[in-house]
């Protein structure tokens, strides 16, 4: 995926899209916080927040894809204004009902207007979420500014890394 290195996650997450050590009574409240942060940064309208909650009601807690991590999202719709992310770390982890990966301490809200325009963001996100050290620092970060600082350091590091080998395809 050649688009991957062009997206900087710190630039995709303004401070209004980040909540640190937030309090949520349950999974619905946690997803709602992620939805409100998407609305605050102009990525979605309020309807999208309800769609993200409905997605879990309909399909189950499959969005908890790694220990402690939920990717709250729904499908492309008129409630999505542009591709974007929000970031909510929780003071007290909450149960989503996922057998393997509960409880959740980090909820990432994700919105995409179609199936393609968010792929650069997804590559950048995949890079951060695969980095266990970075992820534990990010979960402990106690302010939106600190989260953005850590993300910017990762963006900088990844842009200095040599590109993935592509010899097989050239």
């Amino acid at each position: 995926m050649t688009v991957s290195t062009s997206v900087k996650l710190a630039e995709e997450l303004p401070e209004v899209a980040i909540l640190t050590h937030a309090t949520a009574a349950d999974w619905r409240a946690a997803i709602t916080l992620a939805g409100q942060a998407l609305v605050a940064s102009g990525v979605t309208t309020d309807n999208y927040t309800a769609e993200m909650v409905a997605a879990v009601e309909d399909l189950g807690p499959y969005i908890v894809i790694a220990p402690g991590l939920a990717i709250a999202h729904s499908r492309p719709s008129s409630a999505v204004l542009r591709a974007g992310l929000s970031w909510v770390s929780l003071a007290t982890p909450v149960m989503f009902g996922n057998k393997k990966n509960d409880p959740v301490s980090l909820v990432i809200g994700l919105a995409a207007p179609d199936h393609a325009s968010h792929l650069g963001i997804m590559s950048a996100l995949a890079l951060v979420l695969a980095d266990a050290d970075a992820l534990s620092q990010l979960t402990e970060a106690d302010s939106p500014a600190r989260v953005r600082e850590i993300l910017a350091a990762i963006d900088k590091k990844s842009s200095q890394d040599p590109p993935l080998e592509r010899k097989a395809h050239s």
Binding site: Y62, I63, R75, N101, H115, L164
Partner: protein, 90 residues
């Protein structure tokens, strides 16, 4: 070989699973197409795929398909993906 990564909406978790699966396949030197799909179209797409990757909550909803359905617990555990893929391919 064709592999499908399935999630509820086809834009979020399946895309992350597809990216991590492609990393594992590159490491293993296996040539395969990995496509992300939502649960609604996954059954149809699974007809001409060898392997379907998804989460436990969605595996039951895919139902009876000829492809091997692999449940991934941690989408960022490349070792888990590699072990389960290798076992399915051998």
């Amino acid at each position: 070989m064709k592999i499908i990564a399935v999630c509820g909406m086809g834009i979020g978790t399946s895309v992350l699973l597809k990216m991590n699966t492609e990393k594992v396949l590159r490491k293993l030197g296996i040539d395969a197409d990995v496509e992300a799909a939502d649960i609604g179209v996954a059954r149809g797409m699974a007809r001409d795929a060898e392997i379907v990757l998804t989460s436990e909550d969605l595996a039951a909803q895919i139902g009876d398909v000829s492809a091997t359905v692999i449940v991934i617990d941690n989408f960022f555990d490349l070792v888990e993906i590699e072990d389960k893929l290798t076992a399915a391919i051998d």
